[in-house]
Amino acid sequence: MIDFGYTVHKERLIDYDKNDKRVLEHLKQHEPSVLTCIACGSCTATCSAGQFVDFNIRLVQTLLRRGEIEPLKKEMQKCMLCGKCILVCPRGVNMRNMILAIQTAIDKLK
């Protein structure tokens, strides 16, 4: 077959209306501190894992808020649960529990 060089690109758009907000709803019950994030990035700057791999824990929170479940699953796997982010968060978000609660919600939805 002739290769015309065309490919199908994955949709980059966040389609908020269609996205699944069930994980977020679970978090609102079990770790409501995530609601107060102001996206300052302190957590990401201090993150132990982020010094070595392409990991952004601030983004985990954002993806959760947007209902972007697939990239969320992928991103949160990189967390080592060290908890340094919790120490620097100005809003008192419990990120370690956030990661654990996201995992619980995802397992429940399987």
Binding site: R12, D15, P32, A39, L59, L63, R65
Partner: protein, 341 residues
């Protein structure tokens, strides 16, 4: 001979300065273009940050105006000239006024949201402004969409007409951020099941109690703040509004539908202020608001002796700051009056 001060503008600044001057024993004439004094405050239901009714503040300002203040409504200045001693003005009613001091307290206009055509104000029924929403609150009726339904998803667009070179307004309007948060909470209070979104570039919660209000909006009311400037809106067949924005926290484009979209409109200078400034030869800044003699130490003076400025004619201010500014203007005028023969 008693010296006279004419205050142009009977809003928060004009009312405050008039009452202070009268209390100091000075003769004051307060000119108001509308049929009633009170300015924009007459149209505002509740005030940030404590959501107290606007009429409480208005009543307070009214009560402080003693009988000594000569209030004249439905009056517009037709012409005005500087004389060797004071000012000579003609009102549109044909009346002639002579005074020793002029205080410009002409205030601001709200940005005309139709100028941001991409948001569809005046085109789509479910796109309204923060001022429209405030009038809806004031009516006491529950908030509905144009189809008369309870809105289940409401968006607030920050910085409409502010921080936007394209409409010629580079400045920040200061009060819209906190107004948006206040109104978001008020809608959520009315409809606890609704989902509320604020689309912002950055939230400027600079004054006392503002940041706490933002925290409350997130923590208690689950209001979702999404960083990015709404780029365009379109109307669906069912009259809901679809909007496009970059979610700048994920660096991806985002699309969502809302039932009601509220545009947080900013301050713009009044054409009337510019006209008066040109007649009097006082300075106008690049932002088209009035320029004071010195923005740190002579902020109620102008380059012309005897002409003073107060309030939002100089740029966006909260009500509290307007009152403080106008009080200072009154004191400066009182001192100035003692120096002239």
């Amino acid at each position: 001979m008693t010296k006279t001060t004419v205050i142009i503008g009977g809003g928060v600044a004009g009312m405050t300065a008039a009452s202070r001057l009268a209390n100091l024993g000075d003769k004051v004439i307060l000119l108001e273009r509308e049929e009633e004094i009170g300015g924009h405050l007459r149209n505002w239901d509740r005030l940030f940050p404590n959501r107290r009714p606007g009429y409480e503040v208005l009543d307070d300002l009214r009560t402080n105006l003693s009988n000594q203040v000569d209030i004249r409504c439905n009056q517009t200045v037709a012409s005005i000239t500087s004389q060797p001693s004071g000012f000579h003005m003609e009102l549109e009613s044909g009346e002639i006024l002579d005074c020793d001091v002029l205080l410009l307290a002409t205030g601001f206009d709200l940005f005309d949201a139709r100028k941001k055509e991409e948001y569809g104000y005046g085109i789509y029924n479910n796109v309204i402004t923060s001022a429209d929403l405030e009038m809806m609150f004031r009516s006491g009726q529950p908030i509905t969409t144009s189809q008369g339904e309870v809105p289940s998803r409401v968006g607030f667009v920050h910085c409409v007409g502010s921080r936007d070179e394209k409409v010629g307004n580079l400045y920040c309007s200061k009060v819209c951020c906190v107004t948006g948060v206040k109104q978001a909470i008020e809608i959520k209070e009315q409809f606890p099941d609704s989902k509320i979104f604020g689309f912002y570039m950055d939230l400027r919660m600079y004054d006392r109690h503002f940041e706490e209000m933002y925290y409350e909006a997130q923590q208690k009311w689950d209001i979702n703040f999404l960083r990015g400037r709404v780029s365009e809106c379109a109307e669906n067949q069912d009259q809901t509004i679809i909007l496009k924005i970059e979610d700048t926290l994920t660096s991806r484009p985002l699309r969502m539908t809302v039932d009601l979209l509220v545009l947080l409109v900013g301050f713009v200078p009044k054409p009337e202020t510019l006209r008066l400034a040109n007649l009097l030869g006082i300075k106008i800044g690049e932002d088209r608001f009035l320029e004071s003699l010195d923005e740190h130490t002579r902020f109620n003076h102008t380059i012309k002796p005897g002409i003073f400025v107060a309030g939002t004619a100089k740029g966006p201010l909260t009500i509290s700051k307007t009152i403080a500014d106008a009080g200072e203007a009154a004191l400066q005028i009182h001192n100035y009056l003692k120096t002239i023969k």
